[in-house]
């Protein structure tokens, strides 16, 4: 007999098959000691300290105000982001696009070939400028707000409130925490699913994390909501845009719950496991530091992505838009090919092409789309937000198109990095593919329906 088997046998014999009881004895002995020590070490000063935690929780988790407060917080954060990002976006756009002409001039001056100038300025530079001016301001405002809530200790309360709903969907409240992380980045959200102990529920959380709009999609939603539903950004219209974005996020949560429910009933059948979550005390965040830090972090992050992803994507898209195969412009060819299915979803061929080419990173979808449109002979050279709206309208966008675009962006499929993370976390091709196909199916169904109904109403 091997030694290890002998050890096992002896241990099993000694344990008498009463593993549970032994465990309890061991934990009890340790806790008894911990209790004794802390009894000797910890003393309470006389004096009255108000138990703020409980007072706050009375409001934050109450039956009456718990959910409305969650909604209100979400709405306020979005509103602050929408209103706050508008002005900096304008300035950034004006600044960056103002530099475009001098840059072209510089290229001409140095005698660089025409194609190089086109690729560098109209391809790379323009895409980067779009990414920075559309993405950076909302991120730099949303994240400090979100981090403040996180440091305060609100997230576990949200998970506590939501657990009842998730339980009905066959999973648990910690999925809510992973969704919150998904706001930052879906890849981070997928990794955060490790806090869920049950493998079945973890997998469901991984597969549905995509329904939370991440870093790259959230500003796209805000930009479109601002353009189409808050034209001049008067106060009432900014509320309108906030309502649109909040509705979209709520829709994402609803879809998460529904898909989780369906998965629990079909592919990942099982009963909800347990939900054990510690609710930490509220802590006062270091407000100044959090704001400076997260603005700084986000700026670095967005700029980093702009250089590593948007710049090469800009070059590729310029090449596609300016080269032909067999007399047919490549980009135009792709768009024409995709136009029919896209119309069914309330989009057009260029939009669908942009989503497909935007697979590596969601923040480049909108810039790619603009490049695609602009390459078709320039109707308007958009140098600010208002022009951007006009450009889209000139290409036949209606509010239904905008709404379908936002829905498709919210639902479609995770970005390349996230897909890779899903593979790393699940170590399974099957589930990675499911992580792409499930959202895609949902996106097609929802957009198809909305388009159908929207057209009925509008006509």
């Amino acid at each position: 007999m091997t030694k290890i088997q002998e050890l096992y046998r002896l241990a099993g014999e000694l344990g008498d098959g009463r593993k549970e009881e032994l465990q309890e004895r061991i934990v009890k002995a340790i806790y008894r000691q911990a209790e004794a020590i802390s009894g000797r070490v910890v003393s309470r000063h006389p004096g009255w300290a108000c138990d703020w935690d409980r007072r706050i929780d009375d409001v934050v988790t109450s039956r009456l105000t718990g959910f409305p407060l969650m909604l209100l917080l979400l709405g306020v954060v979005f509103w602050v982001t929408i209103v706050g990002a508008n002005y900096p976006s304008e300035i950034l756009a004006a600044l960056l696009f103002g530099l475009e002409d001098p840059l072209s001039f510089l290229f001409d001056y140095t005698g660089a070939p025409q194609w190089l100038c086109g690729m560098a300025v109209q391809g790379v530079y323009r895409t980067v400028a779009w990414v920075v001016s559309v993405m950076l301001p909302p991120m730099a405002i949303f994240f400090p707000c979100f981090t403040l809530l996180e440091d305060l200790g609100y997230l576990p309360r949200a998970a506590f409130n939501l657990d009842g709903l998730f339980k009905r969907a066959g999973t648990q409240g910690k999925q809510g925490l992973t969704m919150c992380m998904g706001f930052g980045c879906n890849a981070a959200g997928v990794t955060a699913c490790r806090i869920i102990d049950s493998p079945r529920e973890r997998l469901i959380a991984i597969l549905t994390n995509n329904f939370v709009p991440c870093n790259g999609r959230f500003p796209t939603l805000i930009a479109l909501a601002t353009l189409f539903f808050a034209g001049s950004l008067s106060t009432s219209l900014s509320f309108m845009a906030t309502a649109v974005v909040t509705t979209l996020v709520l829709l994402g949560v609803t879809v998460t719950l529904l898909v989780s429910y369906l998965l629990s009933k079909t592919l990942l059948r099982g009963l909800p496991s347990s939900f054990v979550l510690e609710l930490p005390p509220y802590r006062m965040p270091q407000v100044g530091r959090v704001i400076v830090r997260s603005i700084f972090d986000r700026t670095i992050f967005v700029l980093g992505r702009a250089v590593t992803i948007a710049a090469p994507a800009g070059a590729v898209i310029w090449l596609l838009a300016n080269n032909s195969i067999g007399g047919q412009n490549i980009l135009k060819g792709m768009a024409n090919f995709l136009d029919l299915p896209a119309r069914f979803l309330g989009l057009d061929g260029y939009i669908l092409t942009a989503f497909i080419l935007g697979l590596p990173a969601n923040e480049i979808v909108l810039p790619i789309l603009l490049m695609g449109y602009l390459a078709q002979g320039t109707l308007v050279e958009p140098a600010n937000f208002q022009d951007l709206g006009n450009l889209l309208v000139a290409y036949g966008w209606t509010p239904v198109t905008a709404f379908c675009f936002m829905l498709f962006s919210l639902l479609h499929y995770p970005c390349g990095t996230t897909i890779w993370t899903i593979y790393k976390e699940t170590k399974s091709f099957k589930w990675t593919i499911a992580g792409v196909l499930i959202p895609l199916a949902v996106a097609v169904i929802v957009c198809g329906l909305v388009n159908f109904v929207g057209r009925l109403i509008l006509n």
């Binding site: 549970e20 465990q23 309890e24 934990v27 009890k28 806790y31 935690d53 409980r54 929780d57 009375d58 988790t61 109450s62 039956r63 718990g66 959910f67 506590f160 409130n161 657990d163 009842g164 709903l165 339980k167 409240g173 102990d197 496991s273 347990s274 939900f275 054990v276 979550l277 510690e278 609710l279 930490p280 005390p281």
Partner: protein
């Protein structure tokens, strides 16, 4: 009076009441987690509040607050210590 008289499950206790843990049932990971969080026999537990959907309930254990579902709380047998702070036994 026998030792097991007046035993209830933790899930049955009303909000704002106190009880001592007598046994922790269940098995596997959940049971182990409960023990590690301090739900060991002899511990005083406070039922702090229930969530908006009524289900997860927040319990005060050894100076911390832990949310449990009804199923998990149901595995913990307790002896009620009445309302109000009973002091350490």
């Amino acid at each position: 009076m026998g030792f097991n008289d007046g035993l209830k499950s933790l899930a049955e206790l009303p909000v704002r009441s106190f009880a001592y843990v007598v046994t922790v049932g269940g098995q596997g990971l959940t049971r182990r987690r409960l023990l590690d969080l301090g739900f060991v026999p002899g511990t005083l537990i406070e039922v702090i509040r229930s969530g908006p959907c009524g289900d997860p309930v927040a319990y005060g254990v050894r100076g911390t607050t832990v949310a449990l579902r009804r199923e998990a709380a149901g595995e913990i047998q307790v002896k009620a210590a009445g309302k109000g702070w009973p002091g350490w036994a």
